[in-house]
Amino acid sequence: MTENVLSGWNRKIQPPAYTPDYKSSRARSPRQPLIKPNFRTSETDGPVFFQGDLGPNDNNLLCNFYHDGDPIGERILVFGRVLDENGKSVPGTLVEIWQANAAGRYRHLSDDYLAPLDPNFGGCGRTLTDEDGNYSFKTIRPGPYPWPNGDNSWRPAHIHISVFGGEFAQRLVSQIYFEGDPLIPLCPIINSVPDRPAINRLVAKLDMDASTPFDCLAYRFDVVLRGPASTLFENRLEGN
């Protein structure tokens, strides 16, 4: 009867709504149980984006806010693949990122951190995945920044990422962290995730093979969207 073949959110590893150590979640977390439809819903369709929607430099944060020079900071390539839980590539899907500059300051009306803005850095980018689900951004490595959660709370360096997928129900926002950052275990936003391996998968790995000598280091970050729930047929194919 059911055509709703998308696998559910894995609540054992996804963060719950209420995580009191992350103070902002206290009053913004629903307390009633979510309602789970057992029929095909409108969210099994989703929006489509086209190459013509984007500009040629939209995925290059080193130059998409150019005023009089290059942005300050460590030049990096952030790249990876968007796939689903069956390992199938998600081609042509919109990936958007936003981040602080090298000093940890966001170009945002509401960010009043004392670190300076960079006149040549906006801090946002977007791209469509290619036919194999690959995406890439050129950017600078963001700095950590303080935030008003506790007396002395600092976010580890991170890039925010938004991915669509083919269905509105697959919509995901997350954050990309960087290998070796000592602030990662201290962060209540990261610790909202109740599963250590899932946290480790939010950490982009240095990839020397993808780096460009004398230009930039590369960090790999794959995104796995909820996929079609596996069927008997697919299990056979995968199981050899």
Partner: protein, 196 residues
């Protein structure tokens, strides 16, 4: 990678989400073409409507830094398809106003959506809400209180047993072609959110 890939976990969009998803609201521009302002272009047939509202937290404070995305069918109940070349994307997004906490969209009223097995969904708009303090995006639906007959047989509304909870999904008709829809994240009159 050995074994099946495991779904990436969600993290809050944070207070500066506007930079990435509704850039001009952050106070600058990067993209020539901002996405999300055109759920249905002006030449799309249908009843033009305006929907507005606010989001409140568990302390009844307005949530002024949220971003909402919308997904809907056209006036005849059809979702935009990959090859649809008719100016109907069926998707949009807005940032809630920093000062007033209000949001507003202009769109067309969706038609009833027919699914297989003779199931008809009443006219509705799918919403996805992200913000600082929201660890995983919240899905809900907006129905129209002037579609009483269609709402009675809607499959989703039908599985919400408590009528007071069902009412949290109703946009109220304020004036001709104007609807009002508040979202309550927590507490009294908490909006029904979906696990889809």
């Amino acid at each position: 990678m050995s074994g099946k890939p495991i779904q990436t976990v969600s993290q809050t969009a944070g207070p500066f989400v506007h930079i990435g998803l509704v850039t001009p609201q952050a106070g600058f521009e990067v993209y020539e073409n901002e996405l999300g302002g055109d759920i249905a272009l002006p030449d799309i047939p249908g009843q033009r409507i305006c929907v507005e509202g606010a989001i409140y937290d568990g302390n009844d404070e307005p949530v002024k830094d949220a971003v909402i995305e919308f997904w809907q069918a056209d006036g005849e109940g059809r979702f935009a398809r990959p090859n649809a070349n008719d100016g109907f994307r069926g998707w949009g997004r807005v940032g809630v106003d920093f000062e007033t906490g209000q949001w507003r969209i202009n769109t067309i009223k969706p038609g009833p959506v027919s699914e297989a097995e003779d199931t008809v969904h009443a006219p509705h708009i799918c919403l996805w809400i992200i913000a600082r303090g929201i660890n995983i995006g919240l899905n809900t639906r907006l129905y129209f209180d002037d579609e009483k007959e269609a709402n009675v047989s809607d499959p989703l509304l039908s599985i919400i047993e408590n009528p007071e909870r069902r009412a949290t999904l109703m946009a109220s008709s304020k004036a001709e072609n104007r609807y009002h829809f508040n979202i309550k994240l927590q507490g009294d009159n908490e909006t029904v959110f979906l696990d889809i």
